[in-house]
Symmetry: D2
Subunit: 478 residues, 4 copies
């Protein structure tokens, strides 16, 4: 693929069109690691001499330390190889024995992506912890619960935050599943057809800390479905975060007035200091759209490509890196933003009680205590709600007599029952079923989630140390 060697005249426009050097910056370090692992394996299998191996190692170290100068090359692999040959002589080319750019680039992408995923999982765990720890402080903070962006029933801030935390937990779980499919080694697949050199793919796999092989050599260089999967996971994660971001925007309007963003995460105007724009939350929403676009781009690029490698795939990776950056920064920003929110507790509780949003519980109480049919209770409460006033027991009795034929007060329905149904706080306390907003239940969930977070951190630490151990040993080889 050395274009200039045999082809005729060239032009800068075409070279720019073909170049992947900009995106390749992301895999430069990965490439050096892959080179090292491949060389060690070649040496161990007698495919290059120790001397050649050492010479090349020396050049790779120089490159790592000093960076590289780009000439007319198309990609970073070519840059590295040329530099090595300049330094180590023609034998530098032996680094390329039994492999090709096709398996090399696939390996580099997976290696670099693995690292990004570990970092993202760390950041996501931190965001989840922030949400859960914030919930811990607010198990008794009453807030309006919404359906259709309309007040429906009172709930607690803890309950609401835990909903986001659980969604974020699934986002993490998907990343963990994907990690296993990403962290596989295509190295040694060569151009797609394997090689006649007796190489040891399992050895480079181990040296680079991969979990296993993308075995079939044609599959190994053709597939980018691991990128599709990660982009899909990032898209879903971002959609979940955009829902949180939307609430930050909404709840910080002067109309809602539920919360205030810390100055660091908002912007203001020199002239309207009272106006605090939720810029970070808006950008989080916006960047969600950008990640969706990347997913769509890559799906449509990969659609209908025959096996094995096609140059279209070069267009895939920049979308991955951009989306990874957008996602990771959004997770970090929202983590910081959420952890520094100031809630207007008074306003939240007041709104929670407004608008007869406890109607459902009143009807349910009537059913539970007096045994009246469900729809009858609904009719009675609807009639009360229409009046717009908070009912007293007398009023409830008289309307019930009309609709149900009896007075609730004569069927064990007391003033206390009425009060309990209508007061947001007691109302919430009643909803203690699994997953409900009652403090006793959210406290249980918080303990459970903190446990899960700890487990997740442990799993992550295990993965990271496995990788770092492998790469650390690789770094010691000469």
């Amino acid at each position: 693929m050395f274009r200039n060697q045999r082809l005729g005249k060239t032009s800068q426009d075409v070279l720019d069109y073909l170049s992947s050097l900009e995106a390749d910056k992301r895999i430069f370090k990965a490439d050096l690691l892959v080179d090292r692992a491949h060389l060690i394996m070649l040496k161990e299998n007698g495919l290059v001499s120790s001397k050649v191996c050492s010479d090349i190692f020396l050049e790779l170290e120089k490159l790592e330390k000093n960076g590289y100068i780009i000439g007319n090359e198309e990609d970073v692999h070519e840059v590295i190889e040329k530099n090595v040959i300049v330094g180590a002589g023609p034998d530098g080319g032996r680094m390329h024995t039994g492999r090709s750019r096709n398996d090399e680039v696939a390996t580099c992408i997976r290696l670099a992506l693995r690292g990004e995923m570990l970092d993202l999982m760390h950041e996501q765990l931190s965001l989840i912890r922030t949400l859960v720890e914030l919930a811990e402080k607010h198990t008794t903070t009453i807030i309006p619960g919404f359906t259709h962006t309309q007040h429906a029933q009172p709930t607690t801030l803890a309950h609401h935050l835990l909903a986001h935390a659980d969604a974020a937990g699934r986002d993490l779980a998907r990343l963990e599943d994907a990690y296993l499919r990403v962290n596989q080694s295509p190295l040694g697949a060569a151009a797609f057809a394997s090689t006649g050199f007796k190489i040891d793919r399992q050895r480079t796999c181990n040296l680079l800390g991969f979990e296993g092989l993308v075995e079939n050599s044609m599959d190994a260089v053709s597939t980018r479905d691991f990128i599709l999967e990660v982009l899909a996971d990032l898209s879903i994660l971002m959609v979940n975060q955009s829902r949180l971001a939307e609430e930050l925007v909404l709840w910080s309007t002067s109309e809602f007035g539920y919360l205030e963003l810390d100055n660091l995460y908002a912007s203001t105007s020199s002239i309207m200091p009272q106006k605090k724009n939720p810029d970070t939350a808006e950008l989080a929403r916006g960047k969600t759209g950008s990640v969706l676009g990347s997913l769509m781009a890559v799906l449509s690029i990969c659609k209908g490509l025959p096996l094995s490698y096609n140059r279209d795939l070069q267009e895939v990776t920049p979308h991955l890196w951009r989306s990874m950056d957008w996602t990771r920064s959004t997770v970090r920003i929202l983590d910081g933003c959420v952890s520094s929110l100031k809630f207007n507790l008074e306003r939240l509780e007041q709104c929670a009680g407004a608008g007869f949003s406890t109607a459902t519980e009143l009807a349910d109480s009537l059913v539970r205590i007096t045994g009246m049919p469900f729809r009858t209770a609904h009719l009675i409460v609807g009639r009360i709600a229409a009046s717009g006033r908070r009912p007293d027991l007398g009023e409830l009795d008289s309307i019930s007599l009309e609709y149900a034929g009896f007075r609730p007060s004569e069927h064990d329905f007391s003033e206390a029952n009425l009060e309990r149904a209508l007061d947001p706080r007691s109302n919430v306390a009643l909803r203690a079923n699994t997953g409900g907003p009652a403090p006793v239940e959210t406290e249980r969930m918080i303990r459970d989630r903190l446990g899960r977070i700890a487990e997740g951190e442990e799993r992550l630490a295990g993965r990271r140390s496995r990788v770092e151990k492998a790469l650390g040993e690789l770094g010691k080889e000469r």
Copy 2:
């Protein structure tokens, strides 16, 4: 949400706009199951009487047997409830105790989707088996291997088919991961805020054969990320299948002439019977685009929605069902199509040898046997290739002398080595590294994949029986 009861004048246009009845057909049976499970739990917990429970069961059975008549209802849940109340009297409304349409619809979608996923996994396993069993017959069938849709190196049909099988295997693995997140019960979350009735969510979860709970009640009704995940998995699966479909189109052109589709999977013209159009493969490609569109639709619908339930979500499910249909039918059609392919073995082998596509191996052989540097060997072989002729040892010697300073024949490179490098068949046999096309290695992979398929079938059977057992018992309850 009974619109007509309290709202003013209505119009058909608005009713049609709001209606989900068309899409709800897909969840009618699921809804009846959910009703049954919920009722049993209510009865067990003393929330409805045995009598009422029996009466409602009777009505549900009638509905299941006779179907339903639609009036002015907006959705299927309303249709069922009205029918039950007509049959069982006002107490029929007690079926709704402690739940809401929000948790009900989320549960129905998961139940119906679970069933579709089990069927799809079955179909995908069948397709993988078809690919692997076809590979089994073609471990020694030589074909050209492609990069950039250009002949690169010879490989075998088995190697190529196994690449598709492995990609399809990952598609299946992703579905299996998603299944665990889909098969969770939101039932009992009520509108989003749980309920004051002392219900038992774990009981309905078990009755319906779910793996666990979507615990947080707000999360349970708000999230559609399980649909996003499934649609993403279907999209990736379809992209992988579109690559196979593209090859079916390409390889069945008269120019390629590599294979012929069975008449069942092609169409022809009364006037040009020699022209066989690969319509099913083209439609498979096309339907891939449709599935991508669904994913994009649902991602953009869910983006930026505040918690909890919003009516926008009604737009989500039809995309899921359509994409599930498109994907399942595509998997089935490609399975049948692949299993009935007729390959032109002679043409494939002939093309595999044309165009000096064994050049890479010749260079590698020179390196391996004579020890000459890698790039030098490349220069020599490039020079030979430029001549367009198949080289003899004399020619190789004289060019090598010029570039490398010695004759390969004097460094253990024999006629047999030359022959082995140039002959596609021996060439392929040389590439016996893990994942390579050598028959010995593809045979190993085939055995391994057949084992994995059997494991997958067993896992699937386990899942299905678990579900069927639960639903079977549910069906017996009165």
Copy 3:
């Protein structure tokens, strides 16, 4: 393409996969018109006899009146042809002289789409008129203007509504541009290579009321870019409408309380009648996502298809019809919804004045009247804003003295100036530049827009009558 005639065994699964009959319902009437026009042209050019032509006309009329019965056909064209042959004998097949299904289907889609576009343009004009006429009533209705969903400066409801009307006007303009590219006849292109029969494409073009020909016969059957363009236009239109819908959701929350939807366009609960869910607006948002998905589907289906016709294109049209339905119903629903909105004028005006949102104008006034530098005025006003109190002239003087070195009151800045800057109503009246919210300017814009609407209606009527005239005459031919 009569599959069953020459191919072997078939199966229902494959037939279903290939069938387009469901989507073809949308072009059945168009197909009959295309058949009629083609027949007339054939007769006029001596390619079928008058007798055969009359016989076929008779059968087409029967079909139009009685509908059709579907057998094992794949598409509607086949159904019609078979029916005609059954009725008119083998000569019925002459209807197909000099054309193919490829040009026929392309023509039918354009014909049916043209009709939908005319209807949509009508509906869009009605929506724009509704917005402008509502604006007409609210040129002096003060509302808060938003940036970042935060109050920024006061404006008027008219100004806000006109912003939506102008966006909707551009959506219409794009549709009008697209209409010209849609309303072109591919008929006579045959399979893609034209035909040896001496047909007259311009004649069928005129008979069917098309504006011109899609000339190149290969282009005529290959391209679906007119569908891509329409779907893109629908997507942009829907995005604009989703912004309006978002505001309907937002403004009808109890927190905003800016407006109330008419009951017809909202839903409520039997138990919480005070809770009015903006379901139609939520569905409008949701359907926007569905239309985006269709666009994405079709773009990715068409990407990379070689010329000319490919079966993938069959997957394209259902997306078009679905999106057209979603868009047209959304426009109609939002039209009705907007026209029946009830605004809370008091709340709007009160919010417009809250939060010192007139700060910008106060600073501008200081600059204009006293000539102080821009940033200095900003500092002064920022200082005032920070206090949270409405300033009096004395306070302004003392702060200005500190920052600017002089008292505004001594530089022509009067109490009246202060009042005018701070009062939302006078503040708005000051902003009378082109496009500004001052009543005098919005009144001018309203008159102008009403004129443009009238012109648009006239243009539309012209287009419709041109089409109807052609089809009317076509209907008279025997």
Copy 4:
């Protein structure tokens, strides 16, 4: 919006998240022009003094010449303003009189985009000319015509190339329509609510060479539908180009062997010089996917945003610039690539005649000359085709006798008629209807298209000179 002035601690992570400086590089020059125009208007309307105006002009010139240094600013507008204030003193801030960053950024984007569109239209016209001029050389070059990627009927290379040229012509027409909606001035809309300064929006509109105003000031800063429209147009254009690119890949396979790409547009390997990879065409396909992704990103970002400006919009513009770059480079590369194609004329003609692809014309001839029914002729030709042999008149007669009851040779069907139908070249000549492949018709189309191209170039020159004249005069103002 000067974040640091009043807000508390900041952090680099958040600043990076908020920054648009990278993307703003694209609008730096536009911004300086906008500043100049705005200043001139301010001066003419007595809103800034001549002295201040001159001082600021001087600073803007310095910035243009020397570039700028970035501090902690968020965007380029802030950078420019700060630089001006440093150079010209506090009065430098007067440049901002009567405008805001909201209208400024919208104006800059439109100005920069307009320039890109003019360049793209130029490049697209060049590509169309290349296609038409290549067609001019190949009106008699016989090639196979395809449906379903299968040979269907013979056509000419001119006919095929003109199909691409006509599609590209529509792509251009859409861009021209969009240009009018892009080239509109939002300047003077201020933050969204106009300004109390008596500015002259029409004057800045003229100074900057815009066609008219985006009048409503709220619409002016809120809408990005002009970006959506351009991205949609780019997407459709790229989809059309991807179809051409796909054919370049396909036709340059060794199996097709229809054409060879010039070395400049292909890549090869040092070792397999006979293998020429169509990298540029593959990348053109790939970049199409990237552009689709941008469209999807921006549609989903804009969906559901309330008026007026929201920070989400900052995420929009980078997608525009990236897609513009991808599209423009693709058009240029394909232009060069197409103009340097080498066709294998012999192979093309040979394939055109293979496989009895003239069957349709033979049937049509039978119908035309002997008057036999259409389907009968099809049956006869189908029977002949099944034999796989080229028929002679005797064979035709005997089969016809069986199916139609008479011998064609006895009904004016001569040997010459048979020859004419079967020979690809005479066959093509018969198809001389409007849009058909007969040389006489393609020659007419070529003349017509060359005329249209000349008109397009003239229109483009007019647009460009109008813009350059305005900006030229603007440059002279001091």
